[in-house]
Symmetry: C2
């Protein structure tokens, strides 16, 4: 069987993760890694220039967009879907409808298929919310994140004067999780659901009290949470906070017509957020390849993909062994 | 919008659950309840005779098969798919390929669409096994059931001489769950994964020691497990064991190429196994209605259904609010 030829655009954490993930997916092969930067070394060679990607239209079945930020992806997505089937991990929830509409139009015109917002949230968590809500319509959803590193919040701390480095962990409040799991369907405030732990390397002469105050009162990021700030040195940061773990919980609690209560829970616990996200992107690249072969064009999301399309196994094998 | 007209065949626990579930699904309406028995009262009237179902071909969009046992369903499924779109909860894992092949042939010939093996296992647990395995290909799956009532095992005890009534609970071993969640990927024997708790009402003159011995040594059912037997009276049985709770866990633990470990877990905890199963059947009836409208015929499983088809919400709403 011909292998699915996968291209990678962008070579940060996600792109590197996709490169590695292909090794666990024997029905796929790497067709090329493309970057905007010059002279980037990859695991087995050199990255190619984004300017050359037009020459690869017949050599790539699916292009996985690993752009560095949520702002890159809409622009990159639109340009690439004109020539390739694409997968992206666009995660700005509020702007998904707009991104979808733009991609759907371009894909239908170019005859390609793109999937947006793939990963674990959006992605696996979205699937859980949809599935749980459909099979238990009378109930309430809860999403908890963590314990894990929030890149955006870590960046916000780094922008404070006198901060050399920072790492922020989002932590679900155990009592809130317990209350949800008990089936009482509580109304929970932002503060009741998560706490925020910050590890900060300050400049030697910096005013730590001021830094702490600036963090815990920062609107949108920290003011609505119980936030703790720990000052550590650069060596501790390197030793204890080099990883990018994450995870969380989607819980739906509800009842069926009589007073019978039911609880559905998806839990995800990841040593490396980008490596796992990459692995999800690769599985959905397989689905996009297959759906495009069946004639589908435009844009889809995880809600449109029959799950069997994700697997290396045949439909017969899946029915015999996994159903 | 026209409502989806749902028929129910069989009026045991499952059929009653479907009847109630329709109340939480405002896009559906009950088109009729059919039974083999005569003069069965339903919530709002009388059940109809199975012999009259041929007259309902134009009045039912999807027929949910709530046959009493796994042996009923293949026969019933084949007969009904000749005239209706169908949903069943066939759960004899080993015979799924055979049931699928027979149904697919009939559905393609009759122009109808059937879905088999819907519920939570098979069903939601199958989805978890497929999804988890696809996004984390290098790992190991574990399925635990319980704490919950196993109808088959309860029946097996009831067949023992001197037993008036029995209820059997399957219970996951907490230490086994802990080991799996720790990421060590242990090899677990049947005995290490689950224990079995039996509550038995014995005849007044029965030899309890013999009954207990017959239970714990029963091949296939109990011999491979640590089984405890509690003798109770009929009143205790009525008071403490009238419910049919169940649930369980699907856990996949694995790594991505580097040494990064990840854990994915689906947990289901149900006050009433048949009521929840009914609720799942109803959501899949919606999907079958929609897929048939799109021209699909034959047989499918939960692996073939795009998840968005399950929801009462439109694709636009799902992308805006659940993705």
């Amino acid at each position: 069987m011909d292998k699915i030829r996968v291209g990678i655009l962008g070579y940060g954490n996600l792109g590197k993760g996709v490169e590695l993930a292909l090794a666990h997916n024997s029905d796929m092969e790497l067709a090329g890694i493309f970057t905007r930067r010059q002279g980037v070394a990859t695991r087995n060679g050199q990255a190619l220039s984004i300017d050359a990607i037009g020459d690869y239209r017949d050599k790539i079945d699916v292009l996985i967009l690993c752009g560095g930020s949520a702002t890159d992806l809409p622009e990159q997505g639109k340009r690439m879907l004109a020539g390739f089937n694409t997968v992206d991990s666009f995660d700005t929830h509020a702007r998904i409808p707009e991104h979808f509409a733009a991609m759907d139009k371009i894909g239908k015109r170019s005859g390609h298929l793109g999937i947006i917002s793939v990963g674990w949230d959006p992605g696996l968590f979205s699937i859980a919310r949809l599935l749980f809500g459909s099979v238990l319509p009378n109930g309430k959803d809860y999403t908890f994140w963590g314990r894990g590193v929030s890149q955006g919040h870590s960046d916000a701390i780094r922008r404070i004067d006198g901060v050399l480095d920072a790492r922020q962990y989002t932590v679900p409040v155990p009592q809130a999780l317990d209350r949800v799991r008990s089936g009482e369907n509580p109304e929970l405030t932002t503060r009741q659901k998560h706490t925020r732990e910050c590890y900060v390397v300050a400049a030697p002469d910096a005013d730590r009290q001021r830094i702490e105050r600036e963090i815990v009162t920062m609107p949108n990021y920290f003011a609505d949470y119980d936030t703790t700030v720990h000052f550590i040195d650069a060596e501790q940061m390197r030793r204890d906070h080099a990883q990018i773990p994450h995870g969380g919980f989607v819980i739906r609690s509800g009842d069926t017509y009589s007073d019978k209560k039911h609880l559905l829970e998806l839990r995800v616990q990841l040593d490396s957020n980008p490596e796992f996200t990459s692995s999800v992107l690769v599985a959905y690249a397989r689905a996009i390849y297959r759906m495009h072969k069946q004639g589908r064009t435009g844009c889809v999301t995880v809600f449109d993909v029959p799950l069997g399309m994700l697997s290396q196994s045949s439909a017969d094998e899946l029915r015999a062994h996994l159903l």
